[in-house]
Symmetry: C2
Subunit: 200 residues, 2 copies
């Protein structure tokens, strides 16, 4: 389970899409949310758009690996698809905030690898939020406050990358994923392999 | 501190040389040894060749980060050059066996990243040892026994790579080194950087 967190505007969505496009062994976890669909978003691919009552019923059924409240909207990761992907030996990519990451870490510490993506500067972050046409001035201010809240949790993550260059940052995330797959405890067939080596 | 261990004949020396040639930020730790110099070896580059009395005097002075006995010869890592390289912000590569790795891990657990290199098959390992012209038949048998001893410690390492293809194996080691440099606790300037991001 690979978690990418960042303040909004640090390029996380682009990095996630690029990673998914070039690595066939990792699947995106699609969150459920009570917020309204935005232009350009595809239900079932970007989010599952659900009602608040549906969301609350699923919390009651313990159907979420993690859930969080952001700007008055609920976001949650349904357990089923994650369990299915992991069961097939696939890795799962999570685009969740610090609240969700804390919950995921509590549930499955050894299986979670977390990366925090930082913007190169505050000016770059502000500009990214301003040029998103759909965000009003007031929304930008609220998002900057949320960005500060998110960034205050950077030290809870395993890895930190700085997105000053998209290609370099993507290569760093790819290296982390590649390295973590080589961790001894993740290579479940190694015991048999070494036994074969030693027996001759 | 990056440790590469493997049974003799798994390609560790070639991998180390290639890594050092392409990564300017890592320095090889040169071990002191009491064994005789072999053809093609350069004193001070491959090993520091020292007398047994000199070696024992240095153990008494606690001059070694780790030391081990292999085939009746002593091998040890002098502290001074390692401390100097780390002090300059450089990484240090160690070509040591499981005994030395255990000692290094005890002294500096959080600063040690260890990789175990496995051969693709027992046949490949035997062939590599046989084709080393300087090894007699008896030496090959002793080295195979030492290889089994070394391989029995694979599960003490952070990462395991299989050297079935030199370029792929090198790329894996490079990814591990790159990822470990991105670990939050190794990026010592991050606190100040994030403080700057949040203050604007």
């Amino acid at each position: 389970m690979l978690v990418l967190s960042s303040p909004s505007g640090a390029g996380k969505t682009t990095l996630s899409r690029r990673l998914l496009a070039q690595d066939g062994a990792i699947t995106m976890s699609v969150s459920a949310t009570t917020r309204a669909q935005r232009p350009g978003e595809t239900p079932g691919t970007d989010y599952d758009f659900v009602s608040l009552s549906d969301f609350e019923a699923r919390i009651a059924k313990d159907d979420f690996l993690e859930h969080a409240l952001v700007f008055g909207h609920r976001y949650g990761t349904p357990k089923g698809p994650v369990a299915a992907a992991l069961g097939e030996g696939r890795d799962v990519l999570f685009d969740i905030d610090w609240q969700g990451t804390q919950q995921l870490r509590e549930r499955a510490r050894d299986d979670v690898v977390s990366i925090f993506i930082l913007p190169p500067s505050r000016a770059a972050l502000e500009q990214r939020l301003h040029t998103r046409a759909q965000d009003s001035q007031k929304t930008v201010a609220a998002r900057m406050a949320k960005a500060d809240d998110e960034m205050s949790h950077w030290a809870e993550y395993d890895y930190v990358v700085i997105n000053d260059d998209l290609e370099r940052c993507l290569a760093e995330i790819v290296s982390i994923l590649k390295a973590e797959r080589l961790r001894r405890h993740r290579q479940t067939a190694l015991s048999d392999f070494v036994r074969g080596l030693m027996k001759g």
